[in-house]
């Protein structure tokens, strides 16, 4: 999917998603699971709100001095014996990674969870080069078996139910006893572990993403819950980190602050199970670790967001809280958004990466309820940025003609108060009279998007302003009479 975005088909995607009872059932897990857990763990930490401020400030500082910290990071990685590669585009990133894999003579590559890998469609490129990519995060492993894209940035298989995973495992793991019991989720986990163990040992290259790149030490950090990332980055001879450039933070002290809001916002954990640091290849005295250590830093349009209304988006630490709390995401799931990044963060980021002409639906498909911003650990004003995209579309005449003319028609009257009062009073009297028997209209011209699904309540008749004028006249007259 990452290679072929379906963002333009958002409405059709949403229709399919809403008609999929299995998906709808799975999405109730998001509503009940993530939200309550985050609220509980945040309530237990008195300084949670202050930590959100400090996380925001740290990221803002890093972005304000991005060049400085990236160069410092590169110097420290190099000093530790690693290599930093700069990729301006997805294509450059793929070329660099394929080159490293080629030099390593790689036949199989294990992978930790990485959204950048999805963004650059790395698996397809590896396969085309005759290299077998093996996803080792349980959710990623499941969707790889199904040839699907992740539907959530931290819970890639959240759109599935356990029974679907069971049938996928039975379809693919044909070497195992057909009569085995897989009715419990833990049995699915154990089976995935067993299958993956030999693949960890056989891999020539391990590729991981990064939650943070630390400038002062040249370290990259991943936070995981399954330990698969550790095996991915320590067992093969070559470790490649792929990360976008805004993952940089100045110091370990900064990281330790942001970590306190990351897992709490994401899964409602105080800390994720593993927080793993990697700094360069194995040293002489190290017992394990890769012989070769590479970091590929991807721009892919992000640097063009600096200094614009979208710069704040680069604070994002990919916790997923915005989508976990989004009513639109709950309704249609992640795949409907049509590309790598779903939910509110995707609605802001995707138009940057693909172009607003291709991804224009995403920032429009929001009620602006503001719940995403209210839970964002780095306080990104997501609705405001979606509005910026709407403005960009409006300026470039990309928004639908019916919407544009509707707004213009409304504004024509709204800018002329006297005409507005006359016209609306007349119209509301007519509509009030038409709707008096039923109290509702079951269809309204040009508003089928409303009346296909719900009635439109009839107005009372007359307007407040006309009634108020009459009311004032009568009270004044009464006053005089008295």
């Amino acid at each position: 999917m990452s290679a072929h975005p379906t963002t333009k088909r958002f409405i059709a995607n949403a229709t399919e998603a809403l008609a999929d009872p299995q998906l709808q059932r799975a999405m109730t897990n998001v509503r009940s699971g993530f939200i309550d857990k985050r609220a509980a763990v945040a309530a237990k930490l008195p300084e949670f709100e202050a930590l959100r401020d400090s996380a925001r400030d740290i990221k803002n500082h890093a972005l304000a001095h991005l060049d400085l910290y990236l160069e410092k990071y590169e110097a420290n990685v190099t000093a530790a014996g690693g290599h930093v590669h700069w990729a301006r585009t997805a294509e450059e990133a793929r070329k660099i990674i394929l080159g490293i894999c080629h030099d390593a003579g790689a036949k199989t590559v294990t992978k930790g969870k990485s959204m950048i890998s999805e963004e650059i469609a790395l698996n397809a490129a590896l396969e085309a080069a005759g290299i077998v990519p093996v996803e080792t995060d349980l959710g990623e492993y499941i969707i790889q078996l199904r040839d699907e894209a992740p539907s959530h940035i931290i819970a890639p298989a959240v759109h599935l139910n356990a029974s679907q995973v069971e049938s996928d495992f039975r379809r693919v793991h044909t070497h195992l006893d057909a009569g085995r019991d897989l009715s419990e989720p833990v049995q699915l986990l154990t089976e995935a572990r067993q299958v993956l163990r030999s693949k960890f040992l056989a891999a020539d290259v391990g590729i991981t993403g990064a939650n943070f790149l630390v400038a002062e030490t040249g370290s990259s950090i991943i936070v995981t819950n399954e330990g698969n990332g550790d095996l991915t980055q320590t067992l093969p001879k070559t470790h490649i980190v792929i990360a976008s450039l805004e993952k940089i933070v100045p110091t370990l002290e900064d990281v330790s602050q942001i970590l306190r809001v990351l897992a709490r916002s994401a899964t409602g954990q105080e800390m994720s199970v593993y927080t793993t640091f990697s700094t360069g290849p194995r040293r002489a005295a190290d017992l394990d670790g890769p012989e070769n250590y590479h970091v590929v830093i991807l721009d892919n349009g992000r640097s063009s967001m600096l200094g614009t209304a979208f710069q704040d988006m680069l604070r994002c630490i990919r916790c997923g809280a915005c989508m976990n709390h989004c009513p639109v995401y709950h309704a249609v799931g992640g795949h409907a958004y049509g590309w790598v990044y779903p939910g509110p963060m995707g609605a802001v980021l995707t138009p940057t990466l693909l172009g607003v002409d291709k991804a224009g639906h995403l920032p429009n498909a929001s009620t602006f309820c503001g719940r995403c911003e209210s839970v964002c650990p780095v306080r990104i004003p997501l609705p405001k940025m979606m509005r910026h995209w709407r403005e960009a579309e409006f300026e470039r005449h990309l928004s639908p003609a019916t919407m544009r003319s509707g707004i213009k028609f409304w504004a024509f009257f709204a800018k002329r108060p006297a005409l507005y009062r006359f016209a609306t009073s007349l119209m509301m009297n007519v509509m009030g009279w038409l709707g008096r028997d039923k109290g509702c209209f079951s269809s309204v011209p040009l508003a089928s998007g409303w009346t296909d699904y719900r009635d439109f309540p009839a107005p009372q008749g007359g307007t407040f302003q006309s009634r108020y004028q009459a009311h004032r006249k009568s009270t004044q007259n009464n006053g005089r009479a008295a």
Binding site: I11, A14, T15, L18, P327, V328, H330, A331, V332, N364, A365, S366, T367, F368, C369, G370, R371, E373, K384, R387, W389, R390, A392, F394, E395, S399, P400, M403, I407, K408, W410, A411, A414, K415, Y420, T424, G432, G435, R436, D437, G439, C440, S442, A447, S448, G449, W450, Y453, R454, D455, P457, A458, P459, Q460, G462, T463, F464, Q465, R467, Y468
Partner: protein, 265 residues
């Protein structure tokens, strides 16, 4: 006596009632309920010339139209001590977004900021500014309350309506599940993405029904029209009203979406 009255009147804050275009057009009785509540609280209320706050244009990316309409509101209401709207969404537009809309305009920015500083949503204005602790009203039965998004998140309106509803004789409050989750209205969103909006409001009407309360209240007419329209389509006989109608004791009008003719017969 006359002098004392004049003196009291001169101390009374001068409130410009911004009824909002939806209330103006769809349900004037909410405007009269707001008028009554404000006067009971000791305000001197006037209704300056008004149309729309500009939010539909603003949220559709039409900044120029939004600015034109915002300027109109600034001109009409600047002389008031306070601007009060029976809507968290429209009050939020003036309070939170007008300053941003004119941030790059040295002439209008201070005016927008001044207006934002004295603009309030009705119920929070009564409780937080006018220090109203109770109302003189009766309502027989249980109600459930939906927290509309802009009021809740932009203006922090949560306890104020509950506090005043708690003082209404005969009224019991029953909280629904997920009262803070969006109803799916979102202005033009409800028409542009009707199917998604429907999925969201379906969950909301499910929570409303499960609460068991025969009456639904909220502080924003847009959300109320959406929820009332869905409840009507589902054939559920839950009465839907703006919270101001109940607080003002003005519940003679048929509820939102209910027939007018049969209600009178």
């Amino acid at each position: 006596m006359r002098l004392a009255q004049d003196k009291a009147a001169s101390r009374a804050p001068r409130v410009g009632l911004f009824v909002t275009c939806l209330v103006d057009l769809m349900r004037p009785s909410i405007g009269f309920a707001a008028l009554k509540l404000l006067e009971q609280a000791g305000c001197k209320v006037e209704v300056p010339s008004q149309t729309c706050c500009g939010q539909p244009g603003y949220n559709s990316g039409d900044r120029a139209t939004a600015r034109d309409l915002a300027e109109q509101v600034i001109r009409s209401f600047s002389h008031c001590d306070y601007v009060v709207a029976p809507s968290g969404s429209c009050a939020g537009m003036i309070k939170a977004h007008y300053p941003e809309l004119f941030a790059d305009d040295p002439n209008l920015a201070p005016k927008a900021q001044a207006l934002a500083g004295k603009t309030h949503e009705l119920i929070s204005f009564l409780v937080d500014v006018m220090k109203v602790k109770s109302v003189d009203a009766s309502f027989d039965g249980a109600v459930t309350y939906h927290d509309s998004c802009s009021g809740l998140r932009e203006l922090k309106i949560k306890n104020q309506p509950r506090q005043l509803l708690g003082s209404v004789n005969g009224l019991t409050m029953v909280e629904m599940n997920e009262s803070e989750v969006c109803c799916g209205f979102g202005g033009t969103f409800a028409v542009k993405y009707g199917e998604i909006s429907n999925s969201i409001v379906e969950k909301k009407t499910g929570n409303i029904s499960e609460s068991g309360a025969p009456t639904l209240l909220a502080g924003d007419l847009g959300c109320l029209l959406n929820m009332a329209g869905k409840l009507a389509r589902e054939g559920k006989s839950i009465e839907v009203r703006h919270v101001a109608e109940v607080l003002a004791g003005m519940t003679d009008e048929p509820p939102i979406g209910a027939p007018r003719v049969s209600a009178q017969s």
